[in-house]
C-alpha cells in the first residue's frame, strides 16, 4: 500500500524579512524514511517546524496524514511524534517521572517500561534528567516522541551526542518503526546516518531544494570513484583516465568505477607498475554533498 503521509507543495516561510523557505515541494510515503539535508540555515528546521504545526506557512500548502498541521494541530499531534533539535526537560524529574508525565499528555500511550526498553534507557529510569549525558537525553527525547505510537515521526538531529553504540541502536529503532509503516522525516548533519537510514532525500540550500530523489538511484547515478597512491614515476596527466590529485592520492571519478579500475590496472600492468592502496567504491552521500556548489554545503 502506498500512502502519502507528508505532502509539501510550494511551501514558503519567512522569519521577518528573511525568507527561510522559498517554495519547496516533496512527499514522504508511509513506511518511508526521508532525509532532509543541508547546511545550517538552509531552512530544514523551519520546514520541520511548519510540518509540526509550530509555524504557519506563508504560502503553499502542507499536509500531514491529510491534515493541515497549523489549523488541525490537535488531531495531527495525536498521530505524530516529534523529536525537536532543541528542547528542554524538567531537570529535577527522573527519567521515569518524565515519561510518566508525558504519558499523561498522550492518548493511548505505550507503557513506560516499553518506551524505556525501546530506547535503551531501562537501566536509567531512576536517574534525574540533569544527570543524563547528551546522548541519553536524545534517547529520552526519542522515548517521548514514540509514546503515542505515531504514524509520522519527525526526527531533527536525532543522534547528536550519542556514542556509536547508541547511534546504531537508534537507527535500528527507526528502521523497525518504518518497517511497521511509520513515515519518518529525518534531518541530520551525519551524512552516513542519512545514507544508511533513508530511502529518499532532498538537499536544501538557501531555502530551496537543490537535489532530491531516491537514495539508491541518486547515488547510483553519481557513479563512484577509484583512488590509489600515485607512483612517484608517473605524472597524473599520463594516466589513461582523468584524475584529481590530493597529496599523493589520485582520485578518478567514473560512472562505472569497476570498469575504470580495470582500465587503470591494465594500463599499469603493461608498464610494470603497481597502483598501491587501490580502492573502488560507489558514490556516497558525502561525495554528492561535496560535489554541490559550495554555497549548498
Amino acid at each position: 500500500m502506498f500512502m502519502t503521509a507528508i505532502r509539501v507543495e510550494a511551501l514558503r516561510k519567512s522569519h521577518g524579512r528573511f525568507e527561510a523557505v522559498k517554495g519547496i515541494s516533496f512527499e514522504v510515503a508511509a513506511g518511508e524514511v526521508f532525509a532532509l539535508l543541508g547546511r545550517n540555515g538552509a531552512g530544514k528546521t523551519t520546514t520541520v517546524e511548519v510540518l509540526a504545526g509550530f509555524l504557519r506557512p506563508d504560502g503553499g500548502s502542507v499536509r500531514v496524514l491529510g491534515l493541515d498541521p497549523s489549523t488541525e494541530r490537535a488531531e495531527v499531534r495525536r498521530r505524530t511524534g516529534i523529536m525537536l533539535q532543541e528542547a528542554g526537560f524538567f531537570p529535577d524529574l527522573t527519567v521515569a517521572a518524565t515519561v510518566d508525565a508525558w504519558r499523561g499528555f498522550t492518548a493511548a500511550p505505550r507503557p513506560r517500561d516499553e518506551a524505556l526498553e525501546l530506547t535503551g534507557l531501562a537501566g536509567r529510569a531512576g536517574v534525574r534528567v540533569r544527570q543524563l549525558s547528551g546522548g541519553e537525553k536524545r534517547r529520552l527525547d526519542l522515548a517521548l516522541a514514540l509514546l503515542g505510537r505515531p504514524d509520522v515521526l519527525f526526527l531533527d538531529e536525532p543522534t547528536t551526542g550519542m556514542d556509536p553504540e547508541g547511534r546504531a541502536a537508534t537507527w535500528e529503532v527507526v528502521r523497525e518503526l518504518a518497517r511497521r509503516g511509520t513515515a519518518v522525516l529525518l534531518t541530520t548533519h551525519y551524512l552516513e546516518e542519512a545514507q544508511r537510514l533513508a530511502s529518499a532525500m532532498a538537499i536544501m540550500d538557501g531555502g530551496e531544494i537543490v537535489a532530491s530523489g531516491g537514495m539508491a538511484e541518486t547515488l547510483a547515478a553519481r557513479g563512484g570513484r577509484v583512488s590509489f597512491r600515485l607512483p612517484a614515476a608517473v605524472a597524473a596527466a599520463n594516466l589513461p583516465l582523468p584524475v584529481t590529485v590530493d597529496g599523493d592520492v589520485a582520485v578518478c571519478r567514473a560512472e562505472d568505477p569497476d570498469l575504470a579500475a580495470q582500465t587503470l590496472l591494465s594500463w599499469a600492468a603493461e608498464r610494470g607498475l603497481r597502483l598501491p592502496g587501490l580502492e573502488v567504491r560507489a558514490a556516497t552521500l558525502e561525495d554528492l554533498f561535496l560535489d554541490l556548489p559550495t554555497s549548498a554545503r
Binding site: A52, F54, R73, A74, R77, R78, I82, L84, E86, A87, G88, F89, F90, D92, L93, A97, A101, W102, G104, F105, T106, A107, L144, A145, G148
Partner: protein
C-alpha cells in the same frame, strides 16, 4: 485527562523545588504570620490592628505565591525550551497554561489557608466573619493573579530577570493594602485611587469590608485583561536575536 496531567505536573514540580518553596511559600508566609504577630506584641490590647495587618498581607501572598511564582516558573520553562517541548505533545496551548494556572492558584490558596490558621493560633486574629466570601475571594484572586503572572512573562526578556521584574508588583500590592505600613497615607489621593484598582486590593477590600460587587467586578476585569494579554503576547519560546 490532559488538563489534570498538566495540573499534577505543575504541582509536583512546585513542591519538589526547594528554592522555589523558600521564595514563594516561606517568605510570604513569614510576612503574613510575622507582621500580625509583631503587631500583637506592640499593641497588646486588641487584635484589631493585627487583623488589619493580616488582611493587608493577603496582597503580599497573592503577589508572590501566585503572580511571581508562575511568572518565574513559566519564563524559566520558556527559556529552557520546556514549553516548546510541551507544545510538541497533544496538549493544546490553553491546556498547558490552564493546568499551570490552576496548580499555582491551588498552592496560593493552600498558603493563605495555612497562614489564616497560623495567625489565629499565634496572634489571636479571628477567623473570617464570612468564610464563604473569604474563600471565594481568595480563590478568585489566586486564579486572576496567576493568570496575570502568566501574561506578564511576555514582558520578561530573560528568565533570570523574572524575580526582579515582579518586584514592582509586589511593592505596589503591599503598599496599596497597608501591608508595608502606612506609606499610602503619605501619597497623593489619586495614587490611592489607582492603587484601589489593583486586583490584590480588590481581594483585601472584600475581606475587610464584606463588599462583593465592586471587588468582583475589578477581579473580573483583570481576569479578562490577563487572558487577552496571553492570547496577544504570550511567548512560547525565547526571543531569537
Amino acid at each position: 485527562m490532559t488538563l489534570t496531567a498538566t495540573y499534577r505536573l505543575g504541582t509536583r514540580l512546585f513542591w519538589q523545588d526547594r528554592a522555589l518553596l523558600l521564595g514563594s511559600v516561606l517568605t510570604p508566609a513569614l510576612i503574613a504570620i510575622g507582621l500580625p504577630l509583631l503587631m500583637r506584641h506592640l499593641r497588646p490590647g486588641g487584635t484589631g490592628e493585627a487583623t488589619a495587618q493580616f488582611q493587608g498581607t493577603l496582597a503580599v501572598i497573592l503577589s508572590i505565591t501566585a503572580f511571581m511564582n508562575i511568572a518565574v516558573a513559566l519564563s524559566a520553562r520558556r527559556d529552557q525550551l520546556v514549553l516548546k517541548r510541551l507544545r510538541a505533545t497533544t496538549l493544546t496551548d490553553g491546556r498547558i497554561l490552564a493546568g499551570q494556572i490552576a496548580a499555582t492558584a491551588t498552592q496560593t490558596v493552600a498558603v493563605v489557608a495555612a497562614c489564616t490558621v497560623a495567625v489565629n493560633l499565634a496572634a489571636g486574629v479571628p477567623y473570617p466573619a464570612n468564610p464563604l466570601l473569604f474563600a471565594a475571594m481568595v480563590i478568585a484572586g489566586s486564579v486572576v493573579l496567576a493568570t496575570l503572572g502568566a501574561a506578564y512573562t511576555a514582558a520578561i526578556p530573560r528568565a533570570e530577570l523574572a524575580g526582579a521584574a515582579c518586584m514592582p508588583v509586589f511593592l505596589l500590592s503591599g503598599i496599596a493594602t497597608g501591608a508595608m505600613g502606612p506609606i499610602r497615607e503619605a501619597l497623593p489621593s489619586w495614587v490611592g485611587a489607582v492603587l484601589d484598582l489593583l486586583p490584590t486590593t480588590a481581594v483585601v477590600d472584600a475581606v475587610r469590608t464584606g463588599a462583593v460587587a465592586r471587588p468582583a467586578l475589578v477581579l473580573a476585569a483583570w481576569g479578562v485583561a490577563g487572558v487577552v494579554a496571553i492570547r496577544l503576547w504570550f511567548r512560547w519560546e525565547p526571543r531569537r536575536s
